[in-house]
């Protein structure tokens, strides 16, 4: 087992624990294209870990490796001290990894409530027969799940759109519903792919607050990809910076910000 060394306490009083997931020398190739080249970093229990980088740096691919959707060409992923093999999507969910998508992936015709309920599918136990005939444990189980879902609805302050079909909602709210669905799975690690993309300032502020609250209230470890540097610097405990598939920086926000390689990647360097 990898050493699960002690964590630390952040300035605002949150506890960061030991290593939850470790990525060792990950390389990911699609045919001749190398999306990720030999990247290693770890994710600690309870932290907010950001992955940043210019467009095409391989951030979303990295997130897909973490979620188990892509199996790395080389290297290994260690979760809770064990090496992880190739997995089916439902196995990923059962491990306690949930995500939101860069392009919203909700069921447009279904209500907000139903969409969030789908987040609990992997936690439902009653069989097909029982569910189809609403008999035995199914109704009791649904009530219990509904209660959890209602707590999340309350938490994210979306009570007023509970029964609204998702297709009718504005973008910012859809993003929040997606977060709600991910939370409904009670994840250990929550992966957020550009949660603030396309939002206005107010929506961004709301989202930031919810991400911090989720982390604070449920102790959920959060890995997020984000372009808005202000958001990243404010939210995250540690930041991984990628450029052209390589890791060019890793550390607390203030350290990363002053890293010359990072500045060059973002602002560009003169080629003379």
């Amino acid at each position: 087992m990898k050493d699960m060394n002690e964590g630390w306490v952040t300035a605002d009083g949150r506890k960061i624990g030991g290593v939850l997931m470790e990525l060792r020398n990950i390389t990911l190739k699609f045919g001749g294209v190398t999306a990720i080249k030999d990247i290693s970093f770890d994710i600690r229990d309870g932290e907010i870990r950001a992955i940043i980088g210019p467009n095409g740096a391989g951030k979303s691919s990295m997130l897909n490796v973490i979620s188990g959707f892509y199996v790395p060409t080389e290297g290994s992923v260690w979760f809770k001290g064990y090496q992880r093999g190739p997995m089916k999507p439902y196995q990923v969910a059962q491990l306690g990894i949930a995500r939101t998508f860069q392009n919203i992936a909700l069921f447009d015709g279904m209500s907000v409530l139903d969409n969030i309920m789908t987040g609990r599918l992997t936690l439902m136990k009653s069989g097909l027969f029982s569910q189809a005939f609403w008999w035995g444990g199914a109704s009791r189980e649904e009530e219990a799940h509904r209660e959890k879902v209602e707590k999340i609805i309350d938490f994210l302050e979306i009570q007023n759109i509970r029964k609204t079909p998702v297709g009718r909602l504005p973008y910012g709210l859809k993003k929040r519903v997606e977060l709600a669905r991910a939370l409904a799975a009670e994840p250990k690690i929550l992966l957020l792919d550009e949660p603030m993309a396309g939002m206005n300032v107010e929506e961004k502020e709301d989202m930031c607050r919810f991400i911090l609250d989720v982390n604070d209230e449920f102790g959920t470890t959060i890995v997020l990809i984000e372009h808005d540097m202000g958001v990243v610097m404010d939210l995250s405990d540690r930041v991984v910076v990628m450029d052209y598939g390589k890791k060019i920086g890793d550390g607390p926000p203030e350290e990363v910000r002053s890293n010359q390689a990072v500045i060059d990647a973002y602002l560009g360097v003169a080629h003379d």
């Binding site: 605002d12 009083g13 509904r146 209660e147 609805i153 309350d154 007023n160 029964k163 604070d216």
Partner: protein
Amino acid sequence: MADRTAAEHSAQSIPALLARNVARYGGYPAYREKEFGIWQTWTWAQANEEIRALAMGLLSLGVARGDHIAIIGRNRPAHYWAMVAAQMCGAVPVPLYQDAVAEEMAYVLGHCGARFVVCGDQEQVDKVVEVEDRIHTIEHVMYTDKRGMRKYDHSRMNALADVIAEGKAGHYRYEQELETRIAELTYDSTCVMLYTSGTTGKPKGVVLSNRNIIETAKNSVSFDRLTRAEEVLAYLPMAWVGDFIFSVGQAYWAGFTVNCPENAATMMTDLREIGPTYFFAPPRVFEGQLTQVMIRMEDAGRVKKWLFDHYMALARRVGPAILDGAPVGMLDRLRYALGGFFIYGPLKNTLGFSRIRVGYTAGEAIGPEIFDFYRSLGINLKQLYGQTEASVFITQQPDGQVRSDTVGVPSPGVEVKIGENGEVYYRSPGTFVEYYNNPDSTASTKDAEGWVATGDAGFFEEGSGHLRIIDRAKDVGKLADGRLFAPKYVENKLKFYPSILEAVVFGAGRDRCTAFINIDLTAVGNWAERNNIAYASYQELAGHPKVYDMIRGHIDEVNASVARDPMLSGCQIHRFLILHKELDADDGEMTRTRKVRRNIVAEKYADLIDALYDGRDSVYTETEVTYEDGRKGAIKATLTLADATVAPGVQLAEAAE
């Protein structure tokens, strides 16, 4: 009847009424709140348990007689309980507007010297913590919603639920003391202190005694024959006297159920689910609902649209008469019943008004079309006229005598007289005790005989005996040539157009009147969409030439109607502009109850007013705005100034209608 009278004589405080209700209605619902998607109910007996436990918890925190306990939060049972619990301890509850910014809150908290504060959530706690250092009286803060509160310094802070638990645990220790304190309450002890929103100057703390509240509740409950079975939705600010009368005074007197919405945004859904039987809303709520209905009907299919138009025309013709019990032909009655099946019933259900027995509106004038729309559906919507200092009720409309342009007859127990300058005065059992720590204001408002000046100008209509309010007495002025200037009268006429949200008319001491217009973004936005008018922002829409044309059309119509009134024909609007931002309470331009502060607006936009009078076509301006979190920014705009058509005034003789 005899035993009831005896019991009622002994109930001389809200806690005493609570005890009476437990004995009389113990198993009936007192409070409901929707939480986690489900309506949770507390019976009178259960509510009593919670309130007593909370009161004992407050005792354990050291609440003393006469302390002020501020309550800042949305309408929740726990907050109402906190008010009654405070009364049980002999303390004075002071509900505050929850959307007030920290500065405003600091003034009120400092003025009443609150030792304890009950906050709804983290947002309110943050504001209190921010101002705490300046106000040295605050000793302990309690909060209802635990979310995000874990990291706060809890040495002088508690969750309200923990205080209740503390009270339950310590009930052997505190029961005796609590009984003593409750027994000390009399008809003249302070029931609640409410801060007036203050269209001018600093807010004043209006002290209302148990007598004020209970007598008013008693009279108004019998006026409308309210019973234990009424359902009300408590959604108006707790700091407003109306909510205190409806959700505490009348609810405790009649023993009916107070329903609290899940949050502010779900109010319409909750309204539909509860279907209140007794409902109060300011005109803007009714206006907003009507606008919604009209917008949706525009999008409806042709058959539905035809049915709607057909039956609404019928309803407008016979609906109000049927509601007033006036004679209506058999055929029309039959048609109306059919309309009820097709349109009125489903529409009322959608609006949440299926069960309404008595509905009130007040605060501002309501448009006749809006008023008639609801009445024609068979909703018994009435008007009342009141103020904080009167424990709400001054006049109200009895069933069957309802009109959109009067505010009714004096409420039971209230005497009303008109002063020499046209100002309305009243005297009643609900008349406030005093302004807290402000004997000068008390003396200037209430005379030795108990008559209170309302500050409104009005007159009793001959024949019906109903009161009509023209305007704020101090706003009623003269134009330069001596003609009467009543801005509110014209503004209200303008505001009846769905596309006009607010209007501010100027002209006192000038030779002619001009106006600022605020467009209603929902209505005008919808109109723009329909007419293929593209816009990117409120400012752009407000400045659009076609919007100007539409507004000019409305103003011309208002001018024509104002011209018909011989007294007020001088108030026609000659020039106007559409403001580039909405008037906002955060900028101090309106009160928290959304009344325009005329002087502040005039001062802040002095450059625009000057431009309206010096004949320019456009004016450049920069305006400072305050965001919700207190930060400031600036909006720059070049505004168009436009002329309106002025109708010739009629001769006195032919206008005597």
